[in-house]
């Protein structure tokens, strides 16, 4: 939630002059469907998102757009989130042998983030491109927050 708040502050307010650079990245919402096992699927997806977002902000630091301490804060949050999920998943991997569904979700997410990275490259990491990417990653986090809340409230059917 804290990382989502940071991303919101990065993307809002959105400069109107960047409307012409809007692009659809095709977030794979189907990976969050109620498939078995849901809980592990969400954890895997969340780990993949955290890792990919951390990679984008690390390899192509938009220092000219956001302040350095702000970038450091978002990267630190994503890194912590990534490591936490990694530990959880490694423990569950030992117990579960059904990895097929999980691999498909991870591939979908990797393709999704690749499209984002390609967009930044095409737009030459411009101001508007970064603004649009920030909005998109925030949207991705928002989806996952919703499903984690549902998981907490046991509203997900198994």
């Amino acid at each position: 939630k804290e990382n989502a708040r940071l991303l919101i502050s990065m993307s809002y307010p959105f400069p109107l002059r960047c409307l012409k650079d809007i692009k659809g990245f095709g977030l794979p919402q189907n990976i969050l469907s109620y498939s078995w096992p849901v809980e592990r699927n969400i954890k895997e997806a969340f780990y993949e998102i955290s890792m990919q977002a951390f990679s984008i902000f690390s390899r192509h630091s938009p220092i000219s757009i956001w302040k350095e301490e702000f970038l450091a804060q978002i990267k630190s949050g994503l890194s912590e989130q990534k490591e936490h999920l990694k530990r959880c998943l490694e423990e569950e991997k030992k117990q579960s042998k059904n990895m097929q569904v999980i691999q498909q979700s991870k591939l979908a997410l990797r393709r999704y983030f690749q499209r984002i990275e390609n967009y930044l490259k095409d737009k030459k990491y411009s101001y508007c491109a970064w603004k649009i990417v920030a909005v998109e990653i925030k949207r991705c986090f928002s989806y996952f927050l919703k499903f984690t809340e549902l998981l907490r409230e046991n509203q997900v059917s198994f």
């Binding site: 919101i8 109107l16 809007i22 909005v135």
Partner: protein, 512 residues
């Protein structure tokens, strides 16, 4: 040469200034109708379960006649979308409940402001669902006998925000304010936020002002909008008054209580002649008595030790251990008085001195007993007066009484009542030896044997009351009826228990 270099330098400087000026002019923001900019302030609110987008032009000097609203989204490169109900509108808001239904989306609104057919300005913005302000529901606060009831009125519409149940994203909070303390209540609500919901605030301090606020709290949506405080003075018991009023009103409505003015004839008191209700007979047997006062004169001892003057023959007043003497007071019932003047009753003031039970004694006691006002209580002796001599004692102060019925027992033989008297609280009045009074005083029957000269030097008597205070007799209340006064002709050698030479008359009073 020098002049041309200076001229070139000036020209360069001027050119530089022009360039800077032009750059500044070009970079300065201009409101162009064709260039949508951030010329508006946008606010999205969830009001009565409706998603409302409001806007306001930053430049208040621009006053359009109507607006046109469009929007797009960030997730897809779609063109501007027209909202049917928000085209050519005069109000500066648009209901987007059924239009914006993705809470993860970022919406880009575009507002065009017109004056007639002329486009004045275009303003755009970016709206994220996190900017949604959920307005609080309506509520009422009612005080009851032992609690305060908070009734929340949810809108009758489906509580859906972005096509999702509001309950999944927000919780209802009731704040209880007491001075500087705020108590937070999160009542569990079964089902969704529909209809009315009542919550009770308990454990309240009586006669204290409580304020209540209600709002929706959400982790996802900010900011939190709290309802204005509604305050109530918590007074236990108020409900009973309200219930009584409600009952009366209900009875009136149902006809049990009629406010008609057409009364039946029996209830019309127009020609009613009021009649006095006769006095109820007294529940207790009350005897009306007349009180006769007899003044005594005390003979001054003339230092004569003759046997004749020996006081041994004199009957000293008997005293009881309780301070009572045998100085008696005689009264008789008014019913036995043959004269018609016996119309008023003697007052029965309280006998504050009569703290002990007293026993009446017979009249035939030989001991000399001074006449004392009837209010002094019973005495061992009693006096008798004729109907001609006994006067009403209605003029006596009210605090004079015959004594309490509980503590006194009055016995009379032949209509005579004898009271014992406590000299420490006796009020006596000494008659002056006035020739006018003597004629009247002669009408009074006095025991010939019992006379006490209460005066030091003179034989005069004054109509006054004597108060026995210890060894002294203080005279008070000089308003006794004369006919019951003793003339003082009957002298008595009998002396009181105290010394006989200490009588002191001061201003008509005798102190002893």
């Amino acid at each position: 040469m020098m002049l041309s270099s200076h001229r070139a330098w000036a020209i360069r400087l001027l050119t530089l200034c022009l360039v800077v000026y032009v750059s500044l002019a070009l970079d300065s923001p201009r409101i162009s109708p064709d260039d949508p900019g951030e010329h508006c302030n946008f606010k999205v609110t969830f009001r009565k379960y409706r998603l409302i987008l409001l806007w306001e032009l930053k430049n208040h000097s621009i006053v359009p006649t109507h607006y046109a609203f469009e929007y797009t989204i960030m997730s897809k490169p779609e063109g501007m979308k027209i909202v049917k109900n928000c085209t050519n509108i005069t109000s500066s808001f648009c209901d987007l409940t059924d239009v914006w239904q993705d809470m993860h989306e970022m919406y880009i609104p575009l507002v065009k402001a017109y004056r007639g057919t002329a486009l004045l300005v275009q303003c755009a913005g970016s709206i994220m669902t996190t900017n949604l302000a959920i307005e609080p529901p309506d509520f009422e606060v009612v005080g009851s006998a032992d609690h305060i009831s908070v009734t929340v009125s949810f809108p009758s519409l489906a509580p859906m925000v972005y096509k999702e149940d509001l309950r999944d994203h927000a919780s209802l909070v009731i704040e209880e304010h007491l001075e500087n303390n705020v108590k937070r209540h999160e009542p569990p609500i079964n089902g969704s936020f529909i209809g009315n919901f009542s919550y009770v605030l308990n454990d309240l301090i009586p006669n204290t002002n409580y304020c209540v606020s209600v709002y929706f709290e959400s982790i996802r949506f900010t900011p939190t909008v709290k309802a204005p405080l509604k305050c109530i003075l918590y007074q236990p018991g108020q409900e009973s008054v309200a219930v009584a009023i409600s009952i009366v009103y209900a009875l009136r409505q149902s006809g049990y209580v009629s406010l008609h003015t057409n009364f039946p004839k029996a209830l019309i008191f127009k020609n009613f002649v009021p009649w006095t209700v006769p006095d109820l007979p007294l529940l207790e047997d009350v005897n009306t008595v007349e009180v006769c006062y007899i003044n005594r004169k005390k003979k001054v001892w003339d230092y004569n030790y003759d046997d004749e003057s020996d006081s041994e023959n004199e009957a000293s007043p008997r005293t009881s251990e309780g301070g009572y003497t045998m100085h008696g007071l005689t009264s008789r019932l008014l019913s036995q008085i043959p004269t018609s003047s016996a119309t008023s009753q003697a007052s029965h003031p309280e006998d504050s001195a009569d703290e002990e039970s007293e026993e009446p004694e017979e009249e035939t006691q030989p001991q000399p007993q001074p006449w004392l006002p009837a209010a002094l209580g019973p005495s061992p002796g009693q006096r008798e007066c004729t109907s001609e001599s006994c006067e009403r004692t209605g003029g006596l102060p009210q605090d004079l009484s015959f004594g309490d019925n509980d503590s006194n027992s009055t016995e009379g033989s032949g209509g005579k009542i004898t009271f014992n008297v406590n000299l420490s609280s006796v009020f006596l009045r000494v008659l002056h030896d006035d020739p006018e009074d003597s004629e009247e005083a002669s009408l009074v029957l006095t025991p010939p044997e019992e006379t006490v000269n209460l005066e030091e030097s003179s034989q005069e008597t004054e109509s006054s009351l004597l108060v026995a205070g210890g060894e002294k007799l203080q005279v008070l209340f000089p308003s006794l009826p004369p006919k019951c006064l003793w003339t003082g002709d009957d002298l008595s050698d009998e002396s009181d228990t105290g010394s006989s030479d200490v009588d002191d008359v001061r201003d008509g009073y005798i102190m002893r």
